[in-house]
Symmetry: C2
Subunit: 349 residues, 2 copies
DNA sequence: AGGGCCATGGAGAACGTTTGTAGTATCCTG
DNA sequence: CAGGATACTACAAACGTTCTCCATGGCCCT
């Protein structure tokens, strides 16, 4: 069943049917009604591939994430899908699992399907492989790492704001030995988080000794082994800030085996605010980087680019800020009692 | 850049280029080489929509899940995607969020994109809306709930096997008051799990009092409130079997507030074996229903159907069994000491 | 040497839409 | 009532492939 069948039965030309479906205003309302009637009766659904072929727009957006099984991403996928559906777009999700081969393949698949744009939510892995897409003038949106070129948008994340709040929150609770568990250091976003931590500490005159900087990998296991390192220190930290929530959860899990209580014996702060963060015991204080806002910005960026007549020479930037959300995993540093004290001054030495 | 451009530069016809790309064996190796050279030089990628239009096969499979943010599903999506890529297929994932409207829309989208098959992993919600797909002769694969019709496959889940193991495991640990937290009762799979529990209990002569059957909703919050119900009982259960892992995790979280220790004071068993199950404290004993096997079966079912010359009259069935995986959330019932006793006999009264 | 067969390549018709352009009623204006 | 403007509608050419014929040429066999 195709558009011709509809045309025949409605006694009009295929052109009119097409125009009716696409709601071109010049078609006579009477005729349109007749056409719609036939369409409904026959249960006709237009063939998107034929449409795409002639119109040159596939109405598909690619969405590249690094690991869909990482709890951070499903939320993004969900929101992105919602928006896509709403705008009559389809999405092609792909999860690279940190494998350049898969990334390359994903790019090829997207080009073959002639996607109208691609959102790259891998936080700084292998963007070089996307050269091919750029070359073909496909609108792209990155998180932080996109080059300043036409048709390339960036969502700039203000890591500093949230991390600074977290550090100051801990300092206010009289923590002075604050550890930081980084993410994988080849990841740009992990580097940026660490930098934000360093700056925030320096700003309030707190020293961060190398002991207290331990590298993780953004997984729960990474957090667990990070804590084991930290626990082996002569002087353990009283608070740990983690580069993401999964690490924080790993840290918390490991403290359990050491018989430490959170937050009484140790404060823990995460980053991301994945949904799980509010459900663990105790609920995790963390820096929120809204996944739904991120997805929305990415989608809008693509949509804007698609509808733009002439692309901006240096692409467009969008900003996403982060901010601390307080829950139950932080408390006054051990040994500090809740009395007006001068402890905070010590940090100014 | 299209196939004609390649043809011109390689000094052959478009037919030959097409044959070369599709590796039709009748093309002279010499010529083929020449064609490939041009293709590589120009970075030509065939246009999938044009291909799909003429060949009548889109090489897209739909994948409908109920909630991608539910930790059970991302694993399925990942495995399904892997297989799809491997077979040069694309997937259209959609998450219905238990909304019939979204389901209906998803069906429309899939028909418009002319998918070659759809895997419906919603475990028994709103299959009626898929009538439209069946009508259009699109191969479908369901979990348990598909009707016996041509081109409709089913993955039959053997809930009983795993749940029976779980029940017997608990009985062996001398639990007699075993509670069951169900899923949402409109969900077929939840019903099947409950039925398997009932049967398994009856089989070993253990009574299941109505008190101990509490309905949950497959979420963590549901598990939490389920446990609150159970805790209010005159006689609390010593073990709780849950219809899924999220409920179990909720139960465990809530026991924490009641000052109960798991497994010493209460044994908990989940169902699904989501990845998270092994990372919570204590690691959850649960009935495994392998997500990757499920995804693999679903994909293969679709693939088989697509390649079948004449569809089987009643569709095809595949079987997935479940089985208990022991971790740390179960122990001897409280008050029972690890001595050879006659306690088990009591259940035979 | 001539005929027939096989291997291979090419022409061109689909596939189901959109869309520019040309055509035709209908209506208004003078 | 003629003539032109207006408001639609129909025709037909794309879009980029695949695939069915059909043609060509080389080779072998008698």
């Amino acid at each position: 069943m195709d558009i011709r069948e509809i045309a025949k039965r409605a006694k009009v030309s295929t052109a009119t049917v097409s125009r009716t479906i696409n709601r071109v205003p010049t078609v006579d309302p009477h005729l349109a009604k007749r056409v719609w009637k036939v369409i409904d009766e026959l249960g006709y659904y237009p063939n998107t591939q034929a449409r795409a072929l002639v119109s040159g727009r596939s109405r598909i957006f690619g969405l590249i994430v690094s690991e869909i099984t990482n709890p951070f991403f499903p939320e993004i996928v969900q929101v992105f899908e919602d928006l896509a559906v709403e705008h009559n777009y389809e999405i092609l999700v792909t999860s690279t699992v940190h494998d350049p081969k898969r990334m390359e393949l994903a790019v090829r698949r997207m080009i073959e399907r002639r996607v109208d744009g691609v959102a790259v939510m891998t936080f700084g892995m292998e963007e070089s492989l996307l050269e091919n897409l750029r070359f073909r003038k496909v609108p792209l949106v990155f998180v932080d790492v996109g080059p300043p070129l036409p048709r390339i948008s960036n969502i700039r994340i203000d890591y500093r704001h949230g991390i600074r709040q977290a550090v100051q929150h801990l300092a206010a609770l009289r923590h002075r030995r604050i550890a930081f568990v980084t993410g994988p250091l080849q990841l740009k976003s992990a580097l940026a988080r660490k930098a934000a931590f360093d700056e925030s500490m320096e700003e309030i005159g707190l020293e961060v000794s190398p002991d207290l900087l331990v590298v993780g990998d953004h997984t729960m296991e990474g957090g667990m082994s990070a804590f084991r390192n930290l626990a082996g220190l002569r002087q353990r930290p009283t608070a740990i800030l983690c580069s993401n929530d999964m690490s924080a959860i790993g840290v918390m899990r490991e403290t359990f085996d050491f018989g430490l209580r959170i937050p009484q014996d140790l404060s823990v702060v995460g980053f991301d605010d994945i949904r799980l963060a509010q459900f663990i015991i105790p609920p995790l204080t963390t820096v929120q980087m809204s996944q739904s806002e991120l997805a929305t910005l990415a989608f809008d960026a693509l949509m804007n680019e698609v509808n733009r007549e002439t692309p901006a020479a240096n692409g467009t930037d969008y900003v996403l800020t982060t901010s601390l959300v307080l829950r139950k995993s932080t408390a006054l540093a051990p040994g500090q009692h809740a009395r007006p004290g001068r402890a905070a001054d010590a940090s100014a030495r």
